[in-house]
Symmetry: C2
Subunit: 193 residues, 2 copies
DNA sequence: ACTGTAGGCCAACGAGTGTTGACTTTCCAG
DNA sequence: CTGGAAAGTCAACACTCGTTGGCCTACAGT
């Protein structure tokens, strides 16, 4: 399959179409979820034949898997003051989503994870590898373990209602209003009662 | 089609299989969402032929629609003290979900609404017809309009992470811990800052 | 100029889907 | 006892899907 010579800048041709397939797949999976996304549609978007998708990614599940490489880009929370932590979190996710929700990988994942085991498992991984440690840096490990779940529930709840379900009561709020409304709530979850 | 005589207690036979189909459909839609639920599987669960499903419900979309009749059974919040409101809400939804999440209609709807426009629209209706008025009774109309969205985001976030995504950080919490953790957060959203 | 190989296309397969119409069985009213 | 409607079965249609294998084309190395 891969020839012995490992060049950093050759294999030009295939790399470009491979990237085109990935880009198209991300968009489709984001908009319609796993089941309603067809290999034929992805190939058509990328301007190539469906069989090329199989050649480069094996099958649909592996293509989906290749799509799910997600970096939340959470800032280092070690030096963030306790009372600024909630607002930092809300602002971070809002900034991430307000840009172009349609192809944000985290929303892609949420959309598919509610019906697809593979996607749900990936969600668990991302949570354990990124969210939990980031909070542990700010709160200490044992407090983080107890609070991280509900914090995630609140942030994902915002993503769900505003960007996936698009509930009018949430979409009509401005980012500022959301930040002012949700930050105290997250503060309440973080505070020891 | 419907004969002139309108009996309240006859037409026995068909009513029972119609109910069996609905029950089976709810379970399937709840567990796998709209796309992955097949008419054949529903019919098999109900112990009848797939064509009967078509006879009684027309097509798959209409069967799905018939499944989505949801009553949140929210209590009357008019006489609930302001500081007991959050705990009342959290307790209500936890009680509803802890029983048998697998066939709770609201979770069915959430699971499908992230990829299905029809389901998302129904979610909007339910929200406008049930959640918003219930909160208006407790907070007054203009405060409710501003807060209802974020309250819904928090409650649906709980449902999403605990029952659909099953994030370990959330599923390992006891109902009591969730109530103690989340009620203050919802209080914070409701309070005018 | 020749050839091997990687990149790409085309046509088809097998399985599963929603849906339909004709046929059979059940059962109650006359 | 006997029609006839209601309830249910059966087999098939038309379609889409993921996936496969054979074929064509461009092009770099010799």
């Amino acid at each position: 399959m891969t020839q012995g010579t490992e060049n950093t800048s050759t294999d030009r041709r295939s790399d470009r179409t491979k990237a085109a397939i990935l880009r198209a797949a991300r968009e489709r999976f984001a908009e319609h979820g796993y089941e309603r996304t067809t290999i034929r549609a992805v190939a058509s978007d990328a301007g190539i034949d469906p069989s090329m998708v199989m050649r480069y990614f094996g099958n649909k599940a592996q293509l989906f898997d290749a799509t799910l490489t997600i970096d939340l880009r959470l800032p280092d929370l070690t030096d963030v003051a306790a009372d600024e932590l909630p607002q930092t979190l809300v602002r971070h996710f809002l900034a991430r989503w307000e840009g172009d929700p349609a192809d944000d990988a985290l929303l892609v994942l949420m959309r598919s994870a509610v019906t697809n085991e593979q996607a749900a498992a990936r969600m668990h991984e991302i949570f354990a590898a990124q969210v939990a440690p980031a909070l542990a840096a700010a709160l200490g490990p044992e407090a983080a373990a107890r609070r991280a779940g509900l914090v995630s529930a609140q942030l994902l709840g915002l993503g769900l209602t505003r960007y996936l379900l698009r509930l009018p009561a949430v979409t009509t709020l401005t980012p500022d209003e959301i930040e002012r409304g949700l930050a105290p709530a997250i503060q309440a979850v973080l505070d020891p009662d």
